[in-house]
């Protein structure tokens, strides 16, 4: 657990970047700092590994004040990922990743073995190991950055806008990879982003900052979408927060109707389109969210979302008026 205890940072020149921040980042979870540019997210993050010294207050990792610890040693135990990766251009990808294990006293051989394993973990083929960073795409560099931060298997990771510098398609892939890795590894992660969608997607806990280094709200993504504390948060999480909060509701208890006659099935019972010749435009399963179902119903030419079982066989449909009723009932329950 990372604890901010009444932390203040005033830069020379008088601007207050962080104003009496008290906060707990739970162990094994991803906590995302989000907010408009200049609201003190990076400053807060960098005070955890002492890249920035707080003006007052304390920061503790598992109850130990970071201020009392040797800077370099503290940082070797904390993974650090920054925007644009910050890879060493003069070292190969493999040696970039081997850096921290070697700082910690592993032999070059051991460190490289660990590094090779991690490159595989973040989805980079072995052929990349001997390349130099300049020979990689932005997305690949960012993967190496993550592998490098993970190399010494630190319990804590700090990530400052790790996915901001890549295009949306690549970012999507990195997000998936991140969620998969984090599910396996269960690191205590503090991540900074200015993108509320990213925060909602990746965060177990989301911390919204407002200008002047103040906390606006802390909560799970669902809490923030459903119960924004004030106008600022409501505005920040976006006008479509209602639709987005549907991401957190399961489609499992959504009532379905029997398959209608004009739904065409193939030999295996999978939906193949409507008898009018139009596509079903995608399907959902009980594991999906209400948001997906809503999207399918809205975008379907006939206003009907088709549900399939684990084998892809159609097993029911949801017309959009049923969905509306379900949403109305859901609202009543909340």
């Amino acid at each position: 657990m990372i604890t901010f205890d009444d932390v203040v940072k005033v830069y020379p020149g008088g601007s207050t970047a962080v104003d009496h921040l008290s906060l707990e980042l739970p162990t094994g979870k991803t906590t995302v700092f989000v907010g408009p540019s200049g609201c003190g997210k990076t400053t807060s993050l960098r005070m955890i590994n002492r890249m920035i010294q707080p003006t007052s207050g304390r920061i503790l990792i598992d109850g130990k004040d970071v201020a009392g610890q040797d800077e370099a040693e503290l940082r070797r135990g904390i993974g650090y990922v920054i925007q644009h990766a910050g890879l060493f251009p003069h070292r190969t990808v493999l040696d970039n990743v081997a850096t921290v294990p070697m700082l910690l006293g592993k032999s070059r051989r051991e460190a490289r073995a660990v590094a090779a394993e991690l490159l595989e973990r973040v989805g980079l083929a072995t052929e990349f190991a001997s390349r130099y960073p300049a020979q990689l795409s932005g997305g690949q560099q960012q993967r190496v950055g993550v592998a490098r931060a993970l190399a010494a298997d630190p319990p804590v990771m700090l990530m400052d806008e790790p996915f901001s510098a890549v295009d949306p398609v690549v970012r999507e892939g990195l997000h998936r990879e991140f969620l998969r890795l984090q599910k396996d590894l269960g690191k205590t992660i503090a991540m900074v982003t200015h993108d509320i969608d990213e925060a909602i997607k990746l965060g177990d806990v989301v911390v919204i900052f407002r200008q002047g280094g103040h906390l606006a709200q802390v909560g799970t993504p669902q809490e923030l979408l459903e119960h924004p504390a004030d106008e600022f948060v409501a505005e920040f999480v976006g006008r479509d927060r209602g639709v987005r909060s549907l991401s957190f509701d399961s489609a499992a208890d959504l009532p379905v109707r029997p398959l209608p006659a004009d739904l065409v099935l193939d030999d295996a019972g999978r939906p193949a389109g409507w008898s009018t010749g139009e596509s079903t435009g995608g399907t959902f399963t009980v594991a999906d969210s209400l948001r997906l179902v809503t999207d399918l119903a809205i975008s379907s030419p006939v206003g009907i979302a088709v549900r399939v079982d684990d084998h892809g066989k159609a097993d029911g449909v949801v017309p959009h008026h049923d969905l509306v009723d379900h949403l109305a009932a859901r609202r009543g329950r909340k």
Binding site: A72, L74, R76, Y80, I82, H90, T92, G145
Partner: protein, 215 residues
């Protein structure tokens, strides 16, 4: 004017005043000046580049160095210190310092601050950041400064002969004194070839020590 002096085998034996020995003494002045100049200028340039303090010094060193007449400086040193190797080395070192100082400064300034930030954030100590990250990254600029210093000092080390020392300047000065233009030409050609060869060696060294990732 002809090439007789240059190709006369008698001038290539290993006796006093022969071309090979003059080349050796010439190189000796060059190497000493480069070593002393580097020891002085490199740390200062790195420090200024690293901290940003005293930048005006690093930027103006280049111009000041170019405008200082080495021969004039040498004469002044001889007047102050008498004849000998010391005044020659001082004059040549003064020539070497500006390009090395300026390139060390420029090399440090050209570093991507994000990479340095990452190095610190991963837990490198300041000395490790300098030796494992900053210096290797600044190396291409550093070496190009060193190469231009080497070229200048090879050409200018001929002044040593003006105050009674050896070096390839002997061929020029002694040749002029007895109107032996073949000897003067030999001196000029050997200096030029030496400069080209030295630069070639340094270029090869550069290929060898600069990471392929920086090309």
């Amino acid at each position: 004017m002809n090439l007789n002096y240059l190709f006369d085998p008698a001038h290539w034996n290993l006796e006093d005043g022969s071309i090979p020995l003059l080349i050796l003494s010439h190189l000796w002045y060059v190497v000493l000046a480069l070593i002393i100049g580097t020891i002085i200028a490199l740390p200062i340039g790195l420090y200024i580049g690293h901290t940003g303090r005293g930048s005006f010094l690093a930027i103006n060193a280049g111009n000041a160095g170019r405008s200082l007449p080495t021969l004039g400086l040498l004469m002044l040193m001889v007047t102050l210190l008498g004849l000998g190797l010391t005044p020659v080395l001082i004059a040549l070192t003064v020539l070497v310092i500006p390009p090395i100082l300026t390139s060390a400064y420029a090399g440090m300034r050209s570093l991507d601050p994000r990479v340095v930030d990452a190095a610190r954030g991963m837990g490198m100590r300041p000395w490790q950041v300098l030796t494992k990250v900053e210096l290797p990254m600044a190396l291409p600029v550093l070496i190009s400064g060193f190469r231009s210093a080497a070229l200048q000092v090879v050409a200018t080390a001929t002044v040593a002969a003006a105050v009674g020392l050896n070096g390839l300047g002997r061929l020029l000065i002694d040749g002029l004194a007895v109107n032996d233009y073949s000897r003067v030409l030999a001196g000029a050609i050997v200096v030029a070839v030496l400069a080209v060869l030295l630069d070639l060696v340094l270029a090869l060294a550069q290929r060898w020590i600069v990471s392929p990732g920086l090309r």
